[in-house]
């Protein structure tokens, strides 16, 4: 008797919240958690006669990691991710430092200029490099019409160089934002204190500003790596056969090759690498936070 009363009280108390908050949680479960788990599940199946067979095995992973071809694509993609991150970092840091400490009156304008490209079409910002670097593109037209070269340069596009250049161009604002946010939070009193204690500006930069901006740098690096590692637009438009990346291979597995389980296995490997980078990042963040304290 009392227990029934209890449950009805509990029911009444929680009915409102459950009705309001239940559906969103169900949505997350059904369309966010479940799909990612399904990719994982699918990666252990195989395809026979264009049908996915639920026959648990590790063949897909063996093929992806054991075979030279796919291991190389994963390696090249990760390397492009690292290169793009390393090139974008100083550019983004310089911009963010300038916006936060030097620009003063121009601060908002600079912020606006850096952030606006983020809102324009990703696709078109990749495509523009095809116009610039292509065989009949801007650079080659200028070079041939001025007589600087006789033949259009072919090494400008359809290789890993053009993929990296394009990705740096695209991801610069992504890297800028978190760095700028962490620089903006630094109390100017710290900088004054450092100067008053006799530190030259460069030492203030290295000993005070850089350590305090590490969380932003790490967040930006994670974003830049993950977005370039998993991109398929830049390699598809300016990459050519040499600049092929893992996402392009996944696309072909879900398209022409029709091997969803193998495509899923590659996706799982990408996910593992992305999650490892995030874990590494939060570890580094904890370490740098400890160093500052």
């Amino acid at each position: 008797m009392t227990r029934r009363a209890d449950t009805s009280v509990v029911l009444r108390r929680w009915r409102g919240p459950v009705l309001v908050f239940g559906p969103p949680f169900l949505f997350v479960l059904a369309f966010l958690v479940y799909p990612y788990l399904t990719v994982f599940e699918n990666s252990f199946y195989r395809v026979a006669d264009y049908v996915v067979v639920r026959d648990f095995n590790f063949d897909n992973f063996e093929r992806a990691i054991g075979g030279e071809l796919y291991r190389r694509v994963l390696y090249v993609s990760a390397r492009i991710g690292v290169i793009v991150t390393l090139i974008t970092l100083p550019l983004a840091y310089l911009l963010a430092y300038y916006a936060a400490f030097v620009a003063r009156r121009w601060r908002h304008l600079l912020y606006f200029l850096v952030v606006t490209p983020l809102w324009t079409s990703f696709l078109l910002r990749v495509y523009v490099w095809k116009l610039i670097l292509g065989r009949t593109g801007l650079v080659n037209n200028v070079l041939t019409s001025t007589g600087a070269v006789d033949e259009p340069l072919s090494f400008l596009i359809y290789n890993q160089f053009s993929v990296c250049l394009t990705l740096v161009y695209i991801l610069l604002p992504f890297f800028f934002l978190p760095i700028y946010t962490s620089l903006e939070k630094i109390d100017p009193a710290y900088l004054e204190a450092s100067a008053d204690l006799g530190a030259p500006p460069l030492r203030t930069l290295i000993r005070v500003i850089v350590p305090l901006s590490m969380p932003g740098v790490i967040t930006g690096a994670i974003f830049t790596f993950c977005l370039s590692f998993g991109d398929f637009v830049a390699p598809a438009l300016v990459g050519g056969p040499g600049g092929l990346m893992v996402s392009n291979v996944i696309i072909s597995q879900f398209g022409a090759a029709f091997d969803w389980p193998f495509g899923s296995a590659l996706a799982v490997l990408v996910l593992i690498i992305v999650l490892a980078v995030i874990a590494l990042g939060s570890l580094a963040e904890k370490k740098s936070a400890g160093a500052v304290a």
Binding site: L32, V39, L95, T116, P117, W119, T120, K130, I250
Partner: protein, 265 residues
Amino acid sequence: MRGLLARRSLARLPLHASVGLIVVFMYVPMVMLVLFSFNGSKLLLFPLADLSWKWYAVLFADHELQRSIWNSVIVIVAVVPMTLAVGVPLAFALDRYRIPGAAFIEQLTLVPLIVPGLITGLAILIVVKRMGIPLSLWTVVLGHSVGWLPVVVSQVHARLRRFDRRLEEASLDLGANPWQTFRRVTYPSIRNAILGSSLLVMTLSLNEVAITFFLTGKDNTMPMHIWSMLRHGITPEINAIASLSILISAAAVVIALRALRSNEE
């Protein structure tokens, strides 16, 4: 002090110059797109052979493109309320209740932001196929709603964390019912977070290709249509599309920055 400042600003010349160069690197391609959209000839060469509006005329006569823009509008109109309907209550639940593993759940909702969009798209594709749902604009809407959910959850949650709950208590003490309290006290303070993230979701959704790639059926969204145009070869019409989209995006940024900035205050 003044002499020191002057010496420092001279020493900073390389700093000014390199920042200038980076901004030039970011904007030369965009300016080029706009200039070449007025180029009469198909050759990419300065000085422009003859200025013309012809590619804009082509663009306004391109019915397939217009249909794809219309499809994108449909997607946006559905995606924004979807992400809000899921994201706002989720942010509230994460803020207000002691849910076991709340931090983990919040991290989970942020996953689509960091995972390559392509994988989010194919994950939903597998589920949708399993349920026997045919691909259409609605599956694209579903994909975008999952993909941009993190934007709404993180923005609204960040605002709620700074919100002083005592204001709500005062309102309830003064005899307002919970609904009135929400509408008159809580909502006004998160309105800008909702507006800002809606605008962000709109532009992200308008430009999205990776999630859409696997989820689109016969009806293409605008970026997917441009994608197929790009695959068929370069036409200067795309430069005209790009110029218009730069214009629209710049306008959207101005509005969104205003909303988000007042959100921070």
